[in-house]
């Protein structure tokens, strides 16, 4: 069966590096959450906040753009597993909240990218969208990776 083969192939590839697909998801999500925090930090610097950090300039803007791109890439394997294999589940509060946030994540991401390119919107729209997106990523990490590391196992 073709679709089952995709799932099996994915599992084989992932478990050649990680102990399980769940562990892979936990680490990819961790990387994405750390990069999300870097996104917030660099964005704050771009807006003139956190003045104790290195001065504003092209380097900070470049770091902001690339941390966002890499964070997005880190979410893709998680998206593939969670959305196309596991689907929306709600057996308990943690999983229900995780599923709900995960469902909204890419919608907020697309909205944020569109807001970046739309100069006609109010000035607060972009930081609000960025903070919402980063908060959602961290909340998704708390409801999955942190739970996995503290309840199941901490390791690759």
């Amino acid at each position: 069966m073709l679709l089952a083969d995709v799932s099996e192939t994915y599992t084989d590839i992932v478990t050649s590096v990680f102990s399980s697909t769940i562990a892979a998801k936990a680490w990819f999500a961790t990387a994405a959450a750390i990069l999300a925090l870097l996104q917030v930090t660099t964005a704050a610097r771009i807006y003139g906040r956190l003045s104790f950090l290195p001065e504003r300039g092209p380097a900070v803007a470049t770091m902001h753009r690339w941390s966002g791109r890499v964070a997005f890439l880190c979410t893709l394997p998680v998206f593939f597993h969670c959305v196309t294999i596991l689907g929306f589940q709600a057996p308990d509060a943690r999983v229900a909240i995780h599923s709900l946030l995960g469902t909204f994540l890419y919608g907020v991401f697309v909205a944020k990218v569109l807001i970046v390119r739309d100069r006609s919107l109010p000035a607060w729209a972009l930081p609000a969208a960025g903070l919402t997106l980063a908060s959602m990523l961290v909340a998704i990490w708390l409801s999955s990776s942190l739970w996995y590391f503290t309840t199941v196992r901490f390791g690759f």
Binding site: L3, A4, S7, I22, V83, V110, L121, Y148, V152
Partner: protein
Amino acid sequence: MSRGWRPLVVGAAVVVATFALAQAQVFAPSAPAEPGAAGDAARGESIFAGKCASCHGDGGTGGVGPALVDTGLAAADVSGVVQQGRGVMPAGIVSGQDQADVVAYVVSISTPSS
């Protein structure tokens, strides 16, 4: 429609599409491992030690998760829990042949020794 609504409308469309994709579970394994069939309990023991014993204890004697020894579990039930998860146990910790092997092992230790 005002252009300012575009991010919200497109974002909402992506949310709906994501939910639809999640409901479809297009790459979910459609053929569950045959309960107990073709499972290698010896190999399953090794997999169990690496992926299940952290919660269920060495040899399934219990830990954070419930003990499995002498519980008389049916292969179909074990398969179902492995695939779907239960409580804090995530779904899909093992799959494919690994799942069949783990199921065979769990059934072997859960069979009451009388």
